[in-house]
């Protein structure tokens, strides 16, 4: 079976009109398309960088604030400059884009403009017809970033053809990988709504600020909906991670349970040996039994992010990751229940008799001291830790 189509959608800089694009995104994913949504008020640079890293087939731009002729053209130009003219550009803006404008935009390399009144199904059909064909053999990548992005795509697409699935996993699970890689790999998991994405983005800000040469990779996951599509929306909220020193890739789970995608392991292995200082992996919101990162796997340090509202303390006994995580974070520690949560989780961790750490954070707060502490812990220890966090608080 062919892989789902991946496209990126966004709203231009200084434009907050996201009502249309939200509706269109939902329609796309309902028809099997994977949409990486970058959000509103986005610069040309952010859009092109994201499209290249995500190796999408096309960029859909929804513009309602004017200046569209220039903006669309700049996106096409920058793609060309970066050697990524294989990524197509389409879009719309209701009645704000006139027929003459659209003609001018097409002249500058835009594929298609949808006018007011275009039905959602017409747009979906267009995307499937024009961006859904199997890719021809691809030309050599014009930059290391494009090369990496294309390799990730290949891994993901190969996973779809079942034959290579088992073999590939066997082949790449060996020790060779672990010895050859350079990056420190940190895994984030936890229930949906705990604030993993915000927490990671706050850590990225600190990574970038602390050392102006540091490079980070992020592998983020969102669930596929029934059928094949998925809304991959982490980029929209990860404002600090839209940076030239951050390589981010959004993956859909494509039917696999447990919080990761069938291709995660191999993609992670590739990123880990690709010259990043840190590789961060974020699972989808997980359930109690989830165990996304294996002991002695490729992840050096596992961070479990909890929401204070996990229910009764009995629930804690059932959360498998509480046994495995190196660091447990109670995020949203400004909520009323946070103190209770802290002490209940503390007791639960004591049963394990391992040096697991428990930290309270308020990730939504700028310069939160809890996040600072988590950052120090992650950076502070040079040695990779497997399963155990050896830091003492």
């Amino acid at each position: 079976m062919a892989s789902p189509i991946r496209i990126l959608t966004a709203v231009p800089i200084c434009d907050g009109h996201d009502s249309a694009i939200n509706t269109i995104n939902l329609e796309f994913i309902r028809h099997g398309i994977e949409v990486i949504y970058l959000g509103y008020h986005r610069s040309v640079g952010d859009i092109v960088r994201a499209a290249i890293q995500e190796d999408v087939r096309a960029i859909g731009i929804s513009s309602y604030n004017g200046g569209h002729v220039e903006f669309f053209a700049e996106v096409v130009d920058l793609l060309r400059k970066r050697g990524a003219s294989g990524i197509k550009v389409f879009g719309g803006g209701g009645g704000t884009i006139s027929h003459e404008d659209a003609a001018a935009m097409r002249g500058k390399g835009v594929d298609q403009i949808f006018f007011a009144g275009t039905s959602l199904s017409k747009m979906t059909d267009y995307v499937r017809k024009h961006y859904g064909k199997q890719r021809m053999k691809r030309a050599p990548a014009k930059s290391p970033e494009i090369e990496l992005a294309q390799k990730l795509t290949k891994i993901e697409e190969n996973k779809e053809s079942r034959k290579s699935k088992v073999e590939a996993r066997k082949k790449e699970k060996g020790k060779k990988l672990r010895t050859s890689r350079r990056s420190r790999v940190i895994g984030f998991t936890g229930p949906g709504g705990a604030g993993k994405t915000t927490l990671i983005d706050e850590l990225v800000l600190r990574f970038l600020n602390e050392d102006s040469k540091r490079r980070i990779a992020i592998l983020s996951h969102d669930p596929s909906v029934i059928g094949e599509g998925a809304l991959l929306g982490d980029r929209a909220t990860m404002i600090n991670s839209q940076n030239d020193r951050v390589f981010m890739r959004s993956m859909a789970t494509r039917g696999q349970a447990g919080g990761l995608s069938p291709a995660t392991h191999d993609c992670l292995a590739l990123l880990a040996k690709s010259n990043f200082d840190y590789v961060i992996i974020e699972t989808v919101g997980t359930g109690q039994e989830a165990m996304p990162f294996q002991k002695n796997g490729i992840v050096d340090l596992t961070v479990l992010v909890m929401n204070p509202d996990y229910g009764s303390r009995l629930q804690l006994q059932k959360i498998v990751m509480l046994d495995l995580a190196g660091i447990v974070v109670v995020n949203k520690s400004d909520l009323q229940r946070a103190r209770t949560a802290h002490s209940e989780i503390e007791q639960r961790l004591e049963q394990n008799r391992r040096d697991q750490l428990l930290i309270d954070t308020v990730a939504k707060q700028h310069r939160d001291p809890g996040v600072d502490r988590l950052f120090d812990l992650i950076c502070g220890s040079e040695q990779p830790q497997r399963g155990k966090a050896r830091n003492k608080s």
């Binding site: 800089i13 200084c14 434009d15 907050g16 009109h17 996201d18 009502s19 939200n22 509706t23 939902l26 949504y37 959000g39 509103y40 008020h41 610069s43 040309v44 640079g45 604030n65 004017g66 200046g67 220039e70 903006f71 700049e74 209701g94 009645g95 704000t96 006139s98 027929h99 006018f115 007011a116 009144g117 039905s119 959602l120 199904s121 915000t198 983005d201 929306g233 929209a236 909220t237 404002i239 939504k364 707060q365 700028h366 310069r367």
Partner: protein, 607 residues
């Protein structure tokens, strides 16, 4: 329980109170008799007006009831126009053509957020028909200034409504990366206090006949400070208490719907409160916030959601200002509202019900005096209801919406132009839109002879009951989520609005929501208007960038000191508005935004 929970209780309690009064009027003969006397007196005192054909009509129409219970239900449940709980109107008379008497109400010429045309009770003593107030802003400050002068050249009162360009709305300087091309598009480019001086050049900012409206929220406190600084440069410090006008400054609706937020929510609210504390104390004629449902409606909410979120946002602001220690009777009268009016039947009573809930909530949950109970409303017809296909039908849509808005006794109204699905409106369509209001209010006899001409039909009452119950349900849900701020952070309103928008689109596509010319009675031919786009020439954009560079260079040293001081005040948690007033003298909008973001962070968008 948050204040919103108390508001729900207050409305429930008030509704019981009304029923008790009805019973009492029926059982207590003395009380019933008093009510009947009062009722008859009101009727007897109502002046008689004559239509152009000579037909005599009362200036206030009241239901034909003589039973004390029903009279009690009317007087307590609805109130006469201008009386608590203000269901029928915030003022005793509105829209009526002048007769001999002089109004006693304190209603002034409120500056409105997006007002094109100002119509209000109390107009009757002024010289006839004045002023279209156009929402305008284009290119650079001097271009908009020229437009302002053109628009007001024949007007006695100068009421300007200012639209800002995208970079300004997002607190970004014109020389920032990636914004060239957006400078002066869709509004005026403002980077510095010098731009602000140019923008209103030639207008007497301290005059009682002048008011300025500024439609901006994210960086509102900075822009407000620039306005004050510009006024002081031109007229000296004594002008400050005389300044009249409004600034939108509605952070909650930005986060819920319009997406023009630049600081994290709590920091934004804090800066807003700093500004409100300052202006309500020092500038008693300024409206420092326009609590707006319009953008919530335009983003796709249902009418009930629009009213419920707007009102609850309003109560949340009131709670915030109160807990800062600002007296309710200081800020209460300085709040105003802005709602959308579309074609759904809810709109027949949406603003009426909102006015009632606001009055009860402010009186009983916040202890506000009479002036703080008024829900002063600006309405704009729905932009979202306008359709590109066979766009001239939009004239009819807007006319119907205007009818609904006036049936709700809105204090002022803006009617959209039929060509708005395509572009910023052209002059021909603007004129038609403004004339639509004049035709309804001045040409037709629907509103000018009699107050309450269309109030209180059985259908309207049915909608009122259903809408009020639905709004209270929304309040309860928000309360369950921990109040407005917690619900906002939980993305509750956002996701509700998005779901409603999606359902609306679905209904259009499956035909259950007929849109004439689009999915029904379609002609097939689109008759797009001829569009003349006013683009900002690159040369002008470059001029703005160059001017800004000069300003920055000139003030580099001073800016550093002023910004350090501002940051210091913010870190200490004091009211930062005075420091902001100093900073805008030497620093640009973008410089201030960036430094503040360094302290409080950037807004993290919600999806």
């Amino acid at each position: 329980m948050s204040k919103l929970g108390q508001v729900v209780e207050a409305v429930e309690k008030y509704n019981h109170f009304v029923i008790d009064q009805v019973k009492r009027a029926r059982s207590d003969e003395k009380f019933g008799g008093e009510l009947i006397n009062r009722w008859n007196e009101t009727k007897a005192k109502t002046p008689v007006t004559h239509t152009p054909t000579g037909l005599p009509l009362p200036r206030l129409a009241l239901p034909e009831i003589d039973e004390p219970g029903e009279i009690a239900r009317y007087l307590f449940g609805e109130g006469l126009p201008g009386e608590f709980p203000f269901l029928n109107g915030a003022y005793r008379e509105m829209y009526l053509e002048p007769v001999r008497e002089i109004e006693t109400g304190s209603y002034g010429k409120k500056a409105s957020a997006n007002g094109a045309k100002q119509k209000a009770g109390g107009d009757s003593v002024r010289p006839p028909e004045e002023p279209t107030r156009l929402f305008s802003g284009l290119m650079l400050a001097e271009d908009t200034n020229e437009r302002f002068h053109y628009l007001t050249q024949h007007q006695r009162t100068h009421r300007l409504s200012t639209a800002f360009d995208g970079p300004t709305l997002y607190g970004i300087d014109s020389d920032a990366y990636g914004v060239f091309g957006k400078i002066g598009e869709g509004g005026v480019a403002i980077d510095t206090v010098e731009d602000m001086v140019r923008l209103y050049d030639g207008f007497d900012l301290g005059s009682p006949n002048f008011s300025a409206s500024m439609t901006i929220s994210g960086p509102a406190p900075i822009i407000m400070a620039m306005y004050i600084a510009a006024a002081k440069r031109r007229f000296g410090p004594k002008v400050v208490p005389k300044l009249r006008g409004t600034i939108q400054a509605d952070i909650f609706k930005e986060v819920q719907a319009q997406n023009e937020t630049i600081f994290p929510i709590e920091a934004s609210l804090r800066f807003l409160t700093d500004m409100v504390e300052f202006t309500t104390r020092e500038m008693s004629r300024w409206y420092p916030i326009s609590i707006s449902g319009y953008h919530i409606g335009e983003a796709g909410s249902t009418p009930v959601q629009q009213a419920a979120y707007t009102l609850s946002n309003g109560f949340a602001y009131a709670e915030m200002f109160t807990s800062r220690g600002i007296p309710v009777d200081q800020f209460g009268p300085r709040l105003s509202f802005f709602l959308d009016c579309g074609l759904d039947v809810e709109y027949i009573a949406l603003a009426r019900v909102s006015r009632r809930i606001w009055a009860i909530g402010m009186r009983d949950a916040f202890g506000a005096g009479p002036r703080g109970q008024l829900f002063k409303l600006h309405t704009q017809t729905s932009g979202r209801s306008l359709i590109a296909a066979e766009f001239k039908n939009n004239l009819t849509r807007t006319a119907a919406e205007l009818m609904l808005a006036y049936m709700n006794a809105t204090n002022s109204c803006h009617s959209n132009s039929a060509d708005e699905p395509f572009t910023t409106p052209g002059e021909e369509w603007i004129r038609l839109a403004a004339h639509g209001q004049a035709i309804l209010l001045e040409e037709s006899g629907i509103f000018k002879h009699t107050m309450n001409m269309l109030s209180g039909s059985p259908g309207m009452k049915a909608v009122e009951r259903a809408v009020e119950a639905a709004i209270l349900d929304e309040f309860r849900e928000i309360e369950r989520l921990g109040g407005v701020l917690a619900a906002v952070e939980d993305r509750f309103q956002r996701s509700q609005i998005q779901n409603a928008a999606h359902r609306y689109e679905q209904q259009i596509y499956d035909g259950t929501r007929p849109i004439i010319g689009l999915n029904k009675y379609r002609n097939g031919e689109d008759d797009a208007p001829e569009i003349k786009l006013a683009r900002t020439p690159r040369k002008k954009q470059q001029l703005q960038v160059d001017r800004l560079a000069k300003f920055k260079k000139k003030n580099a040293e001073k800016a550093k000191r002023a910004l350090d001081k501002l940051v210091d005040v913010v870190e200490r948690g004091e009211n930062c508005f005075p420091a902001l007033l100093e900073a805008v003298e030497v620093a640009s909008l973008g410089q201030i935004t960036l430094r503040l973001q360094g302290v409080v962070g950037k807004f993290r968008p919600m999806v």
